[in-house]
């Protein structure tokens, strides 16, 4: 994917007579757009075929929003990244959708969802935000701003999780959605641990 993005950026920059720095910006943006579109389309298709569309949307958006401020582990290549993202989000969504087939799943979910969420909050409080050698976090103001953003996101997720758990009394599917929010938050926070250990 990087090669395609590079060629596209070269074409745009050559036609518009941009310098190297502007070409790098176009390339960076183009990569982000393509990555988001491809991942979203594949995940939505997986969601439609496995009847877990709502879970897929929740996992995809919640991981993405949280990752924007916390950072996390990174794959070595862009294609590896694409494959890992799709597999991880799909797997978490399918597990969240079908775990209710297990016996005592309601009680398990009511205990695990808040537990997962609290573990995530602790990890994020301790580690976020995590930088990368290609995108170092040097500025104290930036670190402070990203930590604040992470906590605001967590507060919104906590309210959403509570609402879904209350809603599950009347609407069984809300339990799956609450569980998907819990597992996706935990998964994203665990990528911070991996990133820090690297």
């Amino acid at each position: 994917m990087e090669k395609i993005v590079g060629k596209l950026a070269d074409t745009i920059a050559a036609n518009l007579k941009y310098d190297d720095e502007r070409r790098a910006v176009i390339r960076y943006g183009l990569y982000a757009i393509l990555q988001i579109i491809i991942t979203a389309v594949v995940i939505l298709l997986v969601g439609i075929f496995t009847h877990s569309l709502l879970e897929c949307i929740i996992v995809y958006i919640s991981v993405a929003l949280l990752r924007k401020s916390t950072g996390g582990a990174h794959a070595k290549t862009s294609n590896g990244c694409l494959i890992i993202s799709i597999i991880a989000v799909s797997a978490l969504s399918i597990i969240s959708r079908y775990f209710t087939l297990l016996q005592y799943s309601s009680i398990i979910c009511l205990i695990l969802s808040p537990a997962f969420f609290m573990i995530s909050c602790f990890i994020i409080y301790k580690l976020a935000p995590v930088g990368h050698e290609n995108k170092p976090l040097d500025s104290p103001n930036k670190i402070k701003r990203l930590r604040k953003q992470s906590f605001i996101t967590l507060v919104v997720y906590a309210l959403l999780l509570t609402a879904l758990l209350i809603l599950s009394i009347f609407y069984e599917r809300a339990l799956n959605l609450a569980f998907s929010l819990g597992v996706s938050t935990l998964w994203q926070s665990l990528t911070l641990v991996k990133a820090v250990n690297e």
Partner: protein, 44 residues
């Protein structure tokens, strides 16, 4: 067709610059792979 190519590329460049700036203002890209951040976008 060629008449519209340049405006189309200019719009694409604007959209890409906007997305790149948005991405650079957060900690990471959405997913795993982290491409090198352009110098002009660092520390925003």
């Amino acid at each position: 067709m060629k008449k519209y190519l340049k405006p189309f590329l200019a719009v694409t460049a604007m959209v890409c610059s906007f997305v790149a700036t948005t991405m650079a203002s957060s900690a990471c890209l959405l997913w795993y792979y982290q491409p090198e951040e352009p110098k002009s976008l660092q520390d925003r």
